[in-house]
Symmetry: C2
Subunit: 246 residues, 2 copies
DNA sequence: CACCAACCCCCTAAATTTGGGGGGGTGAGT
DNA sequence: ACTCACCCCCCCAAATTTAGGGGGTTGGTG
């Protein structure tokens, strides 16, 4: 829908982008192609890693990256906070910047040379991994929003490419994380909340037998011998997300 | 054991340190007191947080912090890798720096002005939270190791203080994370591995009834109504650590 | 000294899960 | 036309968990 011919025009660009060996090179190429100042790819939820650390690739200046990390700005930054929850792209200006902490954060960002115009593209892939891609600029908001109007689909495609590259970078071609069906995830999630099969059946409006079937198949897909193990593994893999139940 | 009188001498210093309002101030104070170049506090395992991010406080230069984050050095750095596994403090020089990646990492660190002498203090608290505290210097290794010989106990005390401050900073005074007994954690961990009560009894050399009792008490401590929920919560809280089973 | 938590052991009836099996139906992709 | 993933429903016997009880020792702390 929209502007397919525009996307076609850029086919070669996207093809070249996909072939680049490194995400940082991709970021550079995107910046120069679209005259964007900063591009950031941020994958949350490193499943299975022993030590918490996000997968971040960016051309933000080093002091801002450092500042962001050592001040736990990810807990404050409205872009990250809503980016990992919402599904649709949006302009930074559409987010809620009203809290005091947000204002302080914004000021600090400006001090570090980060403009206030930006475009946020959230990603949720088939395996329920979530990432955000940000395109930032020091252009005036009015100019920026017009620009985004024109190239939003292209930037979304760029975001997808970055995500695919990140996943290959992290997990190689064979991706261990099983793709459970929505129903299977719902059932596991409710089980992890302490509900039994019959309650879950009532909640989801299906029979308790069906709930058991979903648990069974989920367990098999996860390669587990007991449901306890399945719950553990699903939790580790971040397949279970209690937040998604309202 | 060792030098209790040395610790007594520093009572006032530790007292002052504890009263500082901010971890960064603590780090400064420690640096000037002991003539240390860099101090880093690094807490892994942010339980319950929506987005992966470590709690890091350091006076390393910003470009090194940024470089460390955006290159996933935590996956390579032998200090972090073994620091989150081992129990006892050690000199950086005692770690395994033989792999190619370690060498590259070390060189990059030196380029950013980080010396090769350091002292690593791992922390595991009552609630199984793990952190590492690093004291770094550009002094020659021979001089550094003599110095550490003298002040290792003091630095360990500093590390403890930093950890307490971090926990208060993160969770306030009331800490939600329940302290399960070692046996309870063992049983939960084995359940999460897919073992049933009788197998676990054999593994741990206790009766299966006892195993069930531990599961029961763990479940209650976690405030859960089913074992599935308990496994989920324990996994989220990082109480279950399969690595600890050999 | 008492007290408490951690550790250890055992029992039973009732409820639940498990692991098999058996049916359907849809929609997407080949 | 076919397969495959997803969605939905059901049955049953065997195994397991659950939620109550009942014991006990040890070691540390007020």
């Amino acid at each position: 829908m929209g502007t397919p011919e525009l996307t076609d025009e850029y086919d070669r660009f996207f093809d070249e982008l996909s072939r680049l060996p490194d995400i940082n090179l991709c970021i550079e190429k995107i910046c120069s192609e679209f005259k964007i100042q900063f591009v950031t790819y941020h994958l949350a939820f490193h499943e299975g890693k022993a030590i918490d650390s996000p997968y971040v690739r960016t051309n933000y200046p080093a002091d801002w990256v450092s500042q962001y990390l050592t001040n736990d700005y990810v807990e404050i930054d409205p872009v990250a906070q809503s980016g990992f929850k919402r599904a649709l792209p949006c302009l930074w200006s559409d987010l809620d910047w009203s809290s005091d902490k947000s204002v302080d954060f914004k000021n600090d960002a400006q001090k570090h040379g980060i403009g206030t115009s930006g475009y946020l593209v959230p990603i949720t892939d088939r395996r329920r991994r979530r990432a955000i891609v940000n395109f930032a600029s020091s252009a005036k908001e009015s100019i920026w929003s017009h620009k985004i109007n024109d190239i939003s689909l292209l930037l979304q495609e760029c975001a997808e490419i970055l995500h695919r590259k990140a996943i290959v970078d992290l997990y190689g071609t064979d991706d261990e994380k099983p793709a459970l069906s929505p129903r299977e995830i719902q059932c596991l999630t409710w089980v992890a909340q302490g509900k039994d099969a019959s309650s879950i059946g009532l909640i989801l409006g299906i029979s308790e037998h069906t709930v058991r079937d979903y648990c069974k198949s989920a367990k098999h897909k996860l390669g587990c011998s007991t449901m306890y193990q399945a719950i553990h593994k699903a939790t580790m893999l971040r397949l279970i997300d209690p937040d998604s139940l309202n």
